[in-house]
Structures are given as structure tokens and as C-alpha cells.
Symmetry: C2
Subunit: 223 residues, 2 copies
């Protein structure tokens, strides 16, 4: 079956680095869902504001080849698990699934009706193939069990080194804090001597992590 | 993007009639997920039994054209709502999303590793494009609100007319009861004089509904 994007995600995640490992984290980071033609019409979204949460079915943007087994970061990268037992991108059909919170339906002159959502674990410009309402009576299984995902607990304390936050928009700082508290370093990296660099929302960020504390050393506007 | 089935659903729902309106209903009805090559290998499912629930991304099998607005049965069929505010099949990319309960992983000689799940709202032979674990910490939003889906309460009392159940396998009767108690009549149908007929799991069933009671009048093996 041939599927085509109905929309694209737009946010500050210009690289994979810093994207939450699952949806629902980093709540202060907003993603705009901008529709393509012919789906860019208020009619197709009529009534959507009655729902608090939505599902996005989207495409992994890297070119992925499938693999029968993968090594999930949550297992320390050592154990192999079947791809269908994970949310890994290395799937036969490179589809992602994320639940997001619907913040606002915006009617704009240049992009038509746009959805503003929080909690999306999508990179900027990710193609979106479908949007569905989250139905709590069939989608929320409080009794579901967790498999291996609970074995490792991520999370660090974030501190901004003196001077780094001067002149930076407080909402950007809040977003950075939310992103960094999840410890966005690639799996299996734990070198306290090392500086990590990434770009987010038009800024270069430099940080290091030692003893459970993540220290932001620099925040600089990119050109 | 071109996507291809990794598996097909196999169950007793030979017609659309009787399929629960959403996943998670009719728990006694089991669906077998039978993989296609090259995905028919135990490796790709390694560790999946650690999860209690799974997501299926599947394809609506009817040939659907998209429509910007639809009339959901739950609204009595009178109000138009944007397609992305519903789970209607009339979507630009005809993808369905269902959470199911994983009952058993079976290793068979003829079909390789097969998943046995309950609560699937899929017709027999529905193509499945992806299977992902249900992650309660990101997928279960107990606080999500319900939009209009709670406005109508389905459900009838089911009674089997005398003699109809003679010689019918009790597990089939349990499945029929689960299916019928949701009132599977098409939306807006409420004619107490009328007999409804459908096929399920190799049986013809005839019933009528009056005053909130659904009476099964005949259960007959199909040829």
C-alpha cells in the first residue's frame, strides 16, 4: 500500500539528539503539525478540540533497514530482542506511533489550520501519515505490563553553569531543561570527561554529565 | 512510502458485521496473527511475551476514499465531524490502530510463530503492517478526555431463544454473546420487526432486537 504524508511536524529538534526516547516526555516542547494539500482544510479537523490527546502515525526519517532483532538502549545495549517487541526504528515498515497532547487548534493565514501539540518525540520535518483521537476507553490500559522498559531509569539533575542563561528566552530554557533532564546522550555513553554538543531551536548547546548531574556549559545562537 | 503486510489477522469475523466498533471489546474472541515471509521467524518476536498488550497498525480492507468530514455512528449519524477527529475508515491513508491483549505466542509447524491476541476489532484476513509493544508509561493516559464518544451508550441484553444453542460449542456461544451484547446492528438501525443475519466462525446467525433485548433466533452451520 502506498501512503503519503498528510502533514509534517515542525519543532526545534533539528537533529535526533535530544528527542525524548518516547512520546509524552519534555512537555514544554511544542510541535506544530502543518498539513499538506489537499488535507489543509479546517473541515478535516472539525471537532478535534474535543479530544485532549491524539495519536500520530509517522515515518522514521532515517533510511532504515529492518533487522529481526535489535539491542534496545534500555537493556544497556547488550541483549538482543525481537524488533516487534520494541519501538525500534529498524522495522519492516518504518512507521512510528506517538500519543501527544493537543494544546491548540490554530487558524493561520499562511499554513491553514495547524495543530499545536506537546510531548511529541518527533524530529523537525517528520512526515505524518495519520492523526486519530486518543480514546481512553479503548486505548488506556492501566493494567498493561511493562516488559523490560522499566529496568533502567534514565534522568539526571540539570544545572546551567553561571552566565550560560544570560539573554536566553526563558521558554527556551524551560524546553532545554525538559530535554536535558532525560539525559539525551546516546545509549552506552558515560564519559564524564566528554563534552556533548547538539543543536536545538536555533541554539548550539554544550554540556557534560558527571555523577548524575548534567552541566550546561554553553548556549549560543546558531547563525 | 510503500508499506507491505508483515502479517494477516485470522479469526471468525468473515464479514464486517459483528466486529466490535473499537478494540478491547469482545474479549473471548481470539485472533491469530500469522506472519508472512520473511517476517515469519521466532527471532523477530523474541521477548514479546514480556508485554501484556500490543499495538497493531493495520489496513482497512474495504476500498476507502477519504472524506474531509464523516458522520460517526456514535453521534447518531447526524453530525459531521472532521475525519481526523474520528477513527473512521474514510482517511487519506487507510490505516487502522488497535490495542490488543497478547494471550499466547505459539510455535507451529505450518505457520511458524503465531501470536494469539484478544480484543482485536479486525476482520478475518486484515493485513497488518506493524506490531509494537504497548508501553503503559507513555501510552496509557488515564486523564485523556473522551470527546463525543461517551454520548451514546451501546449495549443490549442478549438472550438465546429456546433450542438455538443445542449442539453449539460453548466457546462459540461465549464469543457470540460477547459480540452481540455490543449491539452489532449498523448505526441508525432500530427496527424491532426486522431480522438481522450475519456469519461468524462458520455459522449463520439470525437475531432481532426489541426494547433493549437482542434475541438470537437461529444458529446454523454454514456449508
Amino acid at each position: 500500500m502506498e501512503i503519503s504524508p498528510i502533514a509534517f511536524a515542525r519543532n526545534g529538534y533539528s537533529s535526533k539528539f535530544g528527542i525524548p526516547r518516547q512520546s509524552g516526555r519534555a512537555d514544554s516542547v511544542l510541535t506544530r503539525i502543518v498539513f499538506t494539500e489537499p488535507y489543509r482544510q479546517a473541515e478535516a479537523l472539525r471537532g478535534i478540540e474535543q479530544w485532549s490527546h491524539l495519536w500520530l502515525i509517522w515515518g522514521f526519517s532515517e533510511n532504515t533497514t529492518w533487522s529481526p532483532t535489535v539491542r534496545p538502549p534500555r537493556l544497556g545495549g547488550n541483549s538482543r530482542v525481537g524488533v516487534f517487541a520494541t519501538r525500534s526504528p529498524f522495522r519492516p515498515n518504518a512507521l512510528g506511533l506517538s500519543s501527544v497532547k493537543l494544546i491548540k487548534v490554530e487558524h493561520t493565514a499562511s499554513e491553514g489550520t495547524v495543530l499545536l501539540v506537546s510531548g511529541a518525540d518527533l524530529m523537525d520535518r517528520t512526515p505524518i501519515y495519520d492523526i486519530k483521537p486518543y480514546l481512553p476507553y479503548t486505548d488506556a490500559h492501566a493494567d498493561a505490563t511493562n516488559g523490560f522498559a522499566h529496568n533502567t531509569d534514565y534522568g539526571v539533575e540539570v544545572c546551567f553553569a553561571q552566565g550560560t542563561t544570560d539573554g536566553i528566552d526563558p521558554s527556551v530554557l524551560r524546553q532545554l531543561h525538559d530535554i536535558l533532564k532525560e539525559d539525551p546522550r546516546p545509549a552506552y555513553h558515560d564519559d564524564p570527561q566528554r563534552d556533548y554538543r547538539f543543536e536545538y531551536g536555533g541554539y548550539h548547546i554544550v554540556f557534560s554529565v558527571s555523577q548524575g548531574v548534567l552541566t550546561v556549559k554553553k548556549i549560543e545562537k546558531t547563525k
